[in-house]
Amino acid sequence: MIKLSKVEKTYEDAVVLKNCSMVMDRGEFAFITGPSGAGKSTLLKLLYCSEQVDNGHISVDEWILNKLKKRTVPYFRRNIGVVFQDFKLLFNKSVFENVALTLRIHRMGAKEIMERVKSILKEVKLLHKSDIFPQYLSGGEQQRVVIARAMVSQPMLLLADEPTGNLDSDNARTIMRLFREINTKGTTVLIATHNEDLYYGSGRRVFFLNNNRIDKEIVG
């Protein structure tokens, strides 16, 4: 599903990733962890083509990202869902519209959009807040909207960057439960986090990012 081979990424003079390799299977649920500045977010950005790899091979399913043309990037991104660290919610659109936006980009019909958005909002327990604007929601609720938006198109891969970073433990548990449910439906899930509580005892693979590369891999 995900394959990184000898990936290199440099920002000006700072080397972020070097000789970084990892493989993840379809339907797997895994974590990437490491100290702050280790390159977790950069690795995810490479996976959703927000950044371009300098050297090495990187692929997701059939898509070879290091060879992907710029105009093809949007079509690739429609296959993945991303839970951004800074949420990236649109505050001039309601919860419903924020989630529906993904499907509008997929050019779906109004009826299908209505059904799918209602269904996913029900799953994240926010259906009653469909018409509310994101700024009036709590941090946990905003995070659930972001997850709903990432999942509504039923992507093959879900990437989450510090999804529980700003949440209390109750909300963090709710979010993790949602990710597990998503994974049981067949979506591959990769979560970048520095929170040990999320992966210890999870029974999932954990990739340790250190010294610009994956230097350790354990089962949490």
């Binding site: 949007p74 429609r78 990236k88 980009i105 109004a110």
Partner: protein, 294 residues
């Protein structure tokens, strides 16, 4: 269909949210196009006045003294067949002498001193509108001058040259005005759309990260630009139409004789102004959204 509704919905929502900037843009476009429209109206009236004036312009063809009656008839037939000539009037030397005598009245006796009629017979030829310029009139005169039986051809060359100069200058000024106003319309919309684009940069980045193509992110801005330009153009058309109708009514009330001269702009011009506004505005928007990288 649903996507199209999204594009228009997003565009009109933004128009409403940014109503003051949009209103200022519409007013700028409206003022620019109104100036252009007013200038067109003035040019059109001057042009139609000049056409009316030059309608009587013609060539005077002087015939040889010894030309025969048959040759004169042949010439008349030839002129009548010529598609460049609208009207042919023949005045024989005898008729010309009679006219002079009538105009001289009691002093006509001075004409008795001439043993022979010194006046030539003439043809007065009225040319078609397309030939009412210096170059074409000169060419026509030269070609007629070469016909057998014709001794000379005269026309108001300097007068025609002056009229042509006025007309050419007006056209040049009109082109200059139109270009300046087109550029200012493009630039106004370019700036407005660029401001909107920067204000909504975060939204565009999010859209792109969710898999939106450039077209998906840009189209609402283009619709917005198109709409703003069209409204500006429509307002300008309405303004100039109302102004010209009211003004011409007032002028005719004051000087009824001018009603023959005053010409309103053709209705097509009023219809095309919103299209020009929309096109220029769309071009400005295209440049604005095309230049920004995200």
């Amino acid at each position: 269909m649903n996507t199209l509704r999204y594009y228009f919905g997003t565009a009109f929502k933004s128009i409403w949210m940014e109503k003051w900037i949009n209103l200022l843009t519409i007013l700028s476009i409206c003022i620019g196009l109104s100036i252009l429209c007013s200038f067109l109206l003035i040019t059109f009236n001057i042009d139609s006045f000049m056409k009316r004036w030059t309608g009587n312009f013609g060539l005077v063809v002087y015939l040889d003294d010894n030309i025969t009656y048959e040759e004169t008839l042949n010439l008349e037939t030839q002129f009548n067949k010529d598609r460049d000539i609208l009207r042919v009037d023949y005045t024989s030397n005898v008729e010309a002498m009679d006219e002079i005598r009538i105009s001289l009245g009691e002093n006509a006796v001075i004409m008795d001193d001439f043993k022979e009629n010194p006046l030539p017979s003439i043809f007065e030829l009225q040319l078609v509108g397309e030939l009412l310029n210096q170059k074409a009139a000169r060419q026509k005169a030269e070609s007629i001058k070469n016909i057998s039986g014709v001794s000379d051809v005269q026309y108001g060359e300097k007068w025609l040259a002056s009229l042509n100069t006025i007309s050419d200058t007006m056209k040049m000024v009109a082109v200059f005005f139109a270009t300046a106003i087109f550029i200012s319309t493009i630039f106004t919309t370019y700036n407005t759309i660029k401001i909107f684009f920067y204000r909504r940069k975060e939204e565009i980045i999010t859209l792109k990260l969710l898999g939106a193509t450039n077209g998906f992110a840009r189209l609402p801005f283009l619709i917005e630009g198109l709409f703003v330009g069209m409204v500006g153009g429509t307002l300008s058309s309405a303004l100039v139409f109302t102004f010209s109708s009211l003004t011409s009514t007032r002028i005719v009330e004051f000087m009824p004789s001018l009603s023959v001269v005053l010409s309103p702009l053709p209705v097509q011009v009023y219809l095309i102004i919103p299209v020009i506004g929309a096109s220029m505005s769309l071009l400005g928007s295209l440049i604005a959204v095309g230049k920004i990288r995200y």
